[in-house]
Amino acid sequence: MNTPMNTSSNVMPESSVASQVIAHVPATRRMYWSIRRELWEYRAIYVAPLAAAAIFLFGFLIALPHHMHGVKTLDQAHEALDTPYELAAGLIMGTAFIVGIFYSLDALYGERRDRSILFWKSLPVSDLTTVLSKLTIPLIILPLLSFAIAVATQFVMLLLSSVALLGSGQNIGALWARMSFFHMSLMLLYHIATVHGLWYAPLYGWLLLVSAWAPRAPFIWAFLPPFVIWGLEKIVFQTSHFLAMLQYRLTGPEPSSAAAPHGTVMEIISALTLAQFLTTPGLWIGLIIAAAFLFAAVRLRRYRGPI
């Protein structure tokens, strides 16, 4: 990109020659730099899940001797360790989810508030590229990042408990076999891709739309309308379909009751096969709604200037 000629900072009638050989910037490159820009601005995207992991590991380390105390059999060890693993994943992904919500609300609002939209719009990056780059953060970057951090955290936990078990003279080989670390990670990735990547898409679409539109206080504009709709429906029709719909969106598609196992969260999620998930109408309706929200956000950004 940078023409090697003309490195001198002075007058450059010859630069018009250089301009003719300058190549075109491919769309993927613009997208790449737009996403990097988001990571520069919102460092919480990676700092928050990392901090959650660090805090959890610290707590785990303190509680470890207590957990291991009195553990005589492998079954007991398994039970003592199983819950913390899920808790770790849950905490990190929960943190990432919250970061995603606040990020999405600020993504298209912040640039208007600090007037920097006037700078971004002076560059050859379309509104579509900008909005899509901002969507990839909660939809792709945050889930993948929290997955990587969760797996790393769980691995550290496994090492720590192995050391603790070794100290108490247990056979750690059996622990590792029992934990089936790989399987667990795979289930987590599946959960992240389906729930966070696809099922929550309309949620992030809505937040980005509000972020692009709100004249001020995007947080209120994002959460007040659903509340008002719920209240109106309750008063006028005495029903709560809207609330049920929101709950359905937040909790995700449930496996059929017959197949529903009683167990940990991970087991419930894993009970929902990919085929079941992909044939849930709610998934496709959600994706269509998400696309509509995003289209509106792209159009809105064109009209929007600094506030």
Binding site: N2, N6, T7, S9, V11, S15, R36
Partner: protein, 299 residues
């Protein structure tokens, strides 16, 4: 080559008419100063040109419709609207990285060369820079972009005179090469006078004067009249008259210089003087436009 071509450009915000049918043609290599009172429609016109605002009427910038093709247009057009719009969280090096990443015509080495002449270090964040330094940084980025058209809307507002002077000096010395086109609005008209090749006055969404600086200099003359000659000078229908230290200064449009020298000292007015004259005397533009002298057709 025509860089900007507008025909019947209109824009209204509710009942307020910001642009009331503007016809404009800016050729390659010109430096056009757009001058007008607050709320005259300058910013709206410039925003329409760079694709920040929708409009009615016809507008082509480098052959494109700025509203629907802003991102493609920005490969060849650059703009600075208002001072200090760079995001406060960005590092200087990140700003250069990003622009280098998305802009096909950005020469990073050139931008670094401009910055080397300032006190701006590449590791520093924009929020740590003074307002003047942010303007310097923005100008360094913009000047390193090989654009055909540069649009500047009050790029030096709120900066002290040193920064303003440096800003326009580097723009002229390091950037302008006779092929690029610059459109600029400013309230500091005096500082721009010797930079411009063309000047345009806008008032209430209409163009009230549009001429090249050569034409400006040959058309407008200002006479500090001897007291006994004032009456005779007035007979030549000055477009404006003002009093300074008890002496009458009369401003003439298209009156022979030799005719005027007998009334007193003759000089070319500043753009600011003419601007005040035109704005002071609202009957002048319409009267003059009836003669076809003040309208855009003059060029």
């Amino acid at each position: 080559m025509t860089v900007i071509e507008a025909r019947g450009l209109r824009k209204a915000f509710g009942t307020t008419i910001a642009l009331d049918g503007i016809d404009l043609r800016v050729e390659e290599g010109r430096i056009l100063g757009v001058i007008g009172p607050n709320g005259a429609g300058k910013t709206t016109a410039l925003n329409a040109i760079v694709g920040l605002t929708p409009y009615h009427g016809e507008l082509r910038v480098l052959g494109r419709d700025p509203w629907t093709e802003r991102d493609q247009l920005m490969r060849d057009v650059c703009f600075i609207t208002d001072v200090a719009v760079l995001p406060r969280w960005i590092r200087v090096s990140q700003a250069l990285d990003y622009v280098a990443g998305v802009h096909p015509r950005f020469d990073r080495a050139k931008a670094e060369g401009f910055l080397a002449k300032t006190n701006i270090r590449s590791t520093i964040k924009v929020r740590e820079l003074s307002k003047g330094m942010v303007a310097q940084l923005h100008l360094a980025v913009v000047m390193a972009i090989d654009a055909k058209l540069l649009v500047l809307d009050e790029p030096t507002l709120g900066l002290d005179i040193l920064y303003r002077k440096r800003f326009y000096d580097s723009l002229l010395n390091d950037y302008f090469d006779g092929k690029r086109t610059i459109v600029v609005t400013t309230h500091q008209v005096e500082e721009m006078q010797n930079v411009l090749t063309d000047v345009m006055f806008i008032d209430r969404g209409r163009i009230v004067l549009n001429c090249s600086m050569e034409e400006f200099e040959s058309r407008f003359l200002e006479v500090t009249a001897h007291p006994e000659q004032v009456a005779a000078a007035r007979a030549l229908k000055p477009i404006h008259e003002r009093q300074v230290f008890g002496r009458s200064i009369l401003l003439f449009d298209r009156v022979d210089r030799n005719q005027l020298t007998e009334f007193g000292d003759v000089r070319t007015p500043t753009i600011a003087d003419l601007f005040v004259a035109v704005m002071d005397n609202q009957s002048i533009p319409s009267q003059a436009s009836a003669q076809g002298t003040y309208q855009g057709a003059a060029r």
